[in-house]
């Protein structure tokens, strides 16, 4: 689904990623961890086509990202659900409208997805807040809202950047369970987190690998947890 081939990236002269090689197979579940400022968000941004590698290549859904037309980028983004670290919403739309936004911009008929939408709201425990506006909800609620928005389009790949940083342990488990179920349905999951307990708690539920980013290099850290 996603394959990084000697991918490198720098902001100006600061090299963040150096020769990263990694293959994320379809239907796999990966955690991405590493110290703050290591470049996790940067790596995820390359996977969701928001940044292009400086060197090497990245293939997403079988296509080299640097060779995509704008239209292809758009089409591909509709197949990737993303929870951004700084969850951005449209403040003039309600929670429900924000969750439905990917459907709207893709020209889907929102009526067809209403059940799905209400289920999702219930899953992230936001049913009671669906008609509030983004500025009226708490930090953890924003993260849950972002997750709901990421999965509404039934994407092939789900990329989540620290989706549990502001929620309590129970809610974190609930979110993880949702992701595990989606993974079981065949979706590829890439989840950046600092929370080692969260990573440990998945043991025995799905086969997940843990990638550790440090000093610009990516290594498999599964054994050490």
């Amino acid at each position: 689904m996603i394959s990084l081939k000697n991918a490198g990236f720098s902001y100006g002269t600061r090299a963040i990623l150096k020769d990263v090689n990694q293959e994320l197979a379809a239907g796999s579940f990966h955690f991405l961890t590493g110290p703050s400022g290591a470049g996790k968000t940067t790596l995820l941004k390359m996977c969701y086509l928001s940044l292009m590698p400086d060197s090497g290549a990245i293939e997403v859904l079988g296509q080299d990202v640097s060779r995509l037309s704008r239209e292809q980028v758009t089409q591909m983004r509709r197949r990737i659900g993303v929870v951004h670290q700084d969850c951005q919403f449209l403040n003039h739309l309600t929670i429900r409208q924000n969750i439905a936004l990917p459907l709207l911009v893709a020209g889907k008929n929102i009526e067809d997805y209403m059940d799905n939408l209400e289920d999702l709201l219930a899953w992230v425990d936001m049913s009671g807040r669906a008609d509030a506006y983004p500025e009226e909800i708490s930090g953890g609620e924003r993260q849950r809202l972002a997750l709901a928005r990421a999965v509404i389009m039934d994407p092939d790949i789900i990329i989540a950047d620290e989706p549990t940083g502001n929620v309590d342990w129970e809610m974190g488990q609930r979110i993880l369970t949702l992701l595990v179920e989606l993974n079981k349905m065949g979706k590829t999951i890439l989840l950046a987190t600092h929370d080692l307990n969260l990573i440990r708690s998945i043991k025995g539920r799905v086969p997940a690998s843990v990638l550790r980013l440090k000093d610009g290099h990516l290594s498999l850290a599964g054994a050490r947890l």
């Binding site: 928001s50 239209e71 758009t74 951005q88 739309l93 409208q97």
Partner: protein, 298 residues
């Protein structure tokens, strides 16, 4: 980023939702384009009024000439008839009429007084000549006049015309310049406020992009919203300006001097071009601004 401008009119309402209905810049865009439309319509009306005034001054003078015959008694009337014949048979001359003595005296009143011993004055015979679009061949006309009516002299007012013509051309230039400036400023204000509207919504553009919105979809939503605001503002501004123009005190009898601000006949069409101009520039400006912001937002 290509899309059919017709969607502006019929549009898919869904894409509108993604633009905040009232932003910081909504009022500014609407009001600025309204105010500029107001000024533009005002300048336009002024320009039309001045144009009419200048036409009156220059054209009217340019298309008249006078023939004056200084003689006495029978010779005078014979030469008058001869001159009239010559003039009426000259191509380029529309009409030639003897000016009535009483009419002539009325014109002289301010200098000679009204209690003139009218009949006793040996004032010359004047012929009022109206020239056609093209005008006659003046040199040959003068030669022919000399032959038929030796005491006649032809005056095409060119010495009088020059300064009036120059003044009216200066006035026209001045007003045309103001109009051009107003139009230019209107367009720039609309461009800047379109740019401002998009700049203050870069966050929304970024979010929509990442959610898989096409550039054309985002552009359409903003372009429609901005064009609407600017056009509605301009229509209101135009309406107010027209109201002001219509309710302006006017004195139709003084039309030689300045009949006030007014629109006549086909002139009524021009003010309506102002919101069209504003609409088109808002459309073009917001498309360009959208293209710019869509390309600089990652």
């Amino acid at each position: 980023m290509s899309f059919n401008p017709l969607t502006l009119l019929f549009g898919d309402p869904s894409s509108d939702q993604v633009v905040p209905p009232k932003g910081n810049s909504a009022w500014l865009t609407g009001f600025a384009s309204g105010a500029m439309a107001f000024i533009a319509v005002f300048a336009l009306t002024l320009s039309l009024a001045v144009g009419r005034l200048a036409d009156y001054w220059s054209l009217d003078l340019a298309r008249t000439a006078t023939v004056q015959i200084i003689a006495e008694g029978d010779s005078l009337s014979a030469q008058s008839d001869a001159a009239l014949r010559v003039l009426r048979s000259t191509p380029g001359i529309e009409s030639a009429e003897i000016i009535d003595k009483s009419e002539q005296l009325a014109l002289l009143e301010p200098w000679l007084g009204s209690n003139l011993p009218a009949e006793s004055l040996p004032i010359p015979q004047m012929i009022d000549v109206r020239l056609g679009e093209e005008g006659p061949d003046v040199d040959s006309l003068i030669l022919r006049l000399k032959a038929e009516a030796p005491d006649a002299s032809f005056d095409d007012h060119s010495t009088w015309r020059a300064p009036v013509l120059a003044a009216s051309q200066r006035l026209r230039l001045m007003v045309a310049l103001s109009l051009a400036l107003t139009a230019m400023i209107t367009v720039i204000i609309v461009v800047l406020s379109a740019h401002n509207a998009l700049a203050s919504n870069r966050g929304i553009i970024r979010t929509l992009r990442l959610l898989g919105a096409r550039d054309s979809y985002i552009a359409r939503a903003f372009v429609r919203r901005i064009t609407m605001r600017a056009t509605i503002g301009a229509v209101l501004g135009m309406g107010l300006a027209m109201l002001a123009v219509v309710s302006f005190p006017r004195q139709p009898e003084a039309n030689g001097l300045l009949s006030g601000m007014s629109l006549s006949g086909a002139d009524w069409v021009y003010p309506f071009l102002v919101p069209v101009l504003v609409g088109i520039s808002a459309y073009a400006a917001s498309r360009l601004a959208a293209r710019y912001h869509l390309h600089t937002v990652t």
